[in-house]
Amino acid sequence: MGAYTMRCSLNLLVPVTVLAASVMGLAQSRPYNLGTPLSQEEIRGFDFMVGPEGKELPGGRGTAKEGAEIFAKRCALCHGRNGEGGSAQRLVLGSPGNPHRGPFKDTEKSATSYYPYPTIAWDYINRAMPANKPGSLTPDEVYAVVAFLFYRNGIIQESDVLDAKSLPKIEMPNRNGFVPAVPVWPPDPKKPSWF
């Protein structure tokens, strides 16, 4: 605005030209001028989807030991005491120090060791669990529950601390268990539609 005012005082023709150009530019890039602009602060209030690189992960931390307590209170009723399954799906396959490396049967897919990226467990638990009160766990609690499940699945050590830095670095045992390795669109024209 400072530059604008200065130009204004120097030459009336320049700002009029600049203004006209910018209105035209806006008209071209945003033809209907509908919708309400969102501030970065507003976006932070709902932007909870976490991608495979974990860029959106918030601060906080947790360990398997802390997670065991939270799991017992918030998750075990449906998923079983140690995540072996109950009225809801099993979450554990393999055992501490001994991860299941696949292949996975269809009934084993719900175990967190099936997931190709460690962020998937964090993202889903954070937004959608527990099913009776989704989104009610704090970031610390989500890190801890994920640590507990990964420990029970043999993916991390009991003493490992999970946070925004360490979580995305975990190598999942089934990382290469998906075809195609990276989803593609449009599909390879050489592949039949049944593929």
Binding site: R30, L34, M49, A131, F178, V179, S193
Partner: protein
């Protein structure tokens, strides 16, 4: 049906467990409120069908499973290509549907855009709209486990096997219009969308598809999209597997890579023998498929003589070019009439004349789409996927099944599912 019954038991037990855990809050999601008090219902306000008007039961069929609540379109009673909104199939992974006040609801577009924006329902209605007729099909439709029955004499009606496909006229704003308003940045290739349901249903979509023919729909068959179909707004992704069309659409984030979220990675990926036990995921498009809807399993035809065989064909790859029908178990095939309109990525109604001689007959249809893709038999499809023995075929949980459906007409006129017999 044993697995179905035990599924229902588990569903109820799980629901009870959740109710026991619940702390009284109705819902914490924004834009939701408790329903208003029940009023005496005037059935003429929205109209109801005749209680005599259906051949099998009354409207949609239902299966309640632990993590899927499903209502099936009664295809055996369908005519033409449009599914009434009240009979559109419905599947949800949440046990309760969101109850959204559109005054409180906003669709946000953010991530890799120049101008993050939010849109109200009123904003959408001011923008240029399109009306398009498209099918929506669950990628689990017609899968092997849906053929099970404890009454081998009757078989299940077609609705319980293939009733997770429906076709509507959708009205809404092309997603490309909204994305252009927001200004997609260089390097963006994917979108990830989130619904306002309790389970925050989330799916990834290629940006190229989003800019092509995807709609943010707010109306269906001339009325506002119903709550079970995503009121006040949903994605409608033509030709793609149903979960892409996120209901109760709330957030669209523009990103530079697929997000491999829980439903996509876990629920919607399937281990396959031909891939060495690795899982196929992100299958996106539904392949060409057809099914005879009348006569079909569970119906009984009254005696020899003339019948018009009718059914539906559709393909995620475009328009249907040809449907053939066999009444002799696949020995000979006759080209069916395609009733107009024949639209891309929409149900197409086909008919063929048939004179039943009173002997056992096996009826089946097979379609070809505009790309020349031909609907396979189940044996061909499973052979491709390395699922070779019959026991595995019967219990396979494979999705994206577009196999030919045989119906056996017995001499007494009863019609049975002959997929596995």
């Amino acid at each position: 049906m044993d697995s179905n019954r035990s599924g229902r038991r588990r569903f109820l037990k799980h629901a009870a467990a959740l109710a026991g855990l619940a702390s009284g809050a109705v819902s914490s999601a924004s834009g939701q409120s408790a329903g208003s008090e029940a009023q005496p219902k005037d059935v003429h306000i929205h109209g109801e069908p005749s209680r005599f008007a259906t051949t099998l039961g009354s409207g949609r069929g239902v299966r309640l499973r632990l993590d899927h609540m499903t209502y099936y379109t009664p295809l055996q009673d369908s005519a033409g290509i449009i599914t009434p909104a009240s009979l559109h199939f419905m599947q949800t992974h949440s046990s309760r549907l969101p109850d959204i006040d559109p005054q409180q609801h906003r669709l946000t577009i953010h991530g890799m855009v120049d101008r993050p924006l939010s849109f109200s329902l009123e904003d959408l209605k001011r923008l240029p709209s399109v009306n398009r007729i498209y099918f929506v099909e669950c990628h689990g439709n017609g899968s092997s486990t849906l053929h099970s029955t404890d009454d081998p004499k009757m078989g299940l009606p077609v609705q319980y096997i293939h009733g997770m496909t429906s076709c509507s006229e959708w009205t809404g704003v092309p997603l490309s219009v909204l994305l252009n308003e927001a200004g997609v940045q260089k390097g963006a290739n994917w979108l990830v969308s989130e619904g306002a349901d309790e389970g925050k249903f989330t799916h990834t979509l290629p940006l190229a598809k989003a800019m092509d023919d995807v709609i943010v729909a707010y109306a269906q068959n001339g009325e506002p999209v119903r709550p079970e179909q995503g009121y006040p707004m949903r994605l409608l992704v033509p030709g793609f597997e149903g979960p892409s069309s996120v209901k109760w659409l709330r957030h669209i984030k523009v990103v530079d890579q697929p997000y491999m979220t829980w439903n996509e990675s876990m629920n919607h990926s399937i281990p396959r023998p031909d891939l060495g036990g690795k899982s196929r995921w992100y299958h996106f498009e539904m392949a060409p498929k057809s099914v005879i809807t009348r006569p079909s399993g569970g119906l009984k035809i009254p005696g020899r003589g003339f019948y018009e065989i009718t059914g539906l064909a559709w393909s995620g790859g475009g328009a249907i070019r040809k449907v053939e029908v066999s009444t002799d178990g696949g020995r000979s095939w006759k080209e069916a009439n395609l009733q107009t309109p024949v639209l891309p990525k929409a149900h197409t109604r086909f008919t063929v004349d048939w004179a039943w001689d009173g002997e056992e007959a096996v009826l089946q249809s097979r379609c070809t789409d505009e790309r020349g893709e031909v609907q396979p038999s189940l044996a061909e499809l499973y052979r491709n996927w390395g699922i070779t023995d019959v026991a595995s075929q019967k219990t396979s949980r494979a999705i994206h099944i577009n196999a030919i459906q045989p119906w056996r007409v017995d001499r007494d006129g009863s019609v049975h599912d002959a997929m596995f017999s």
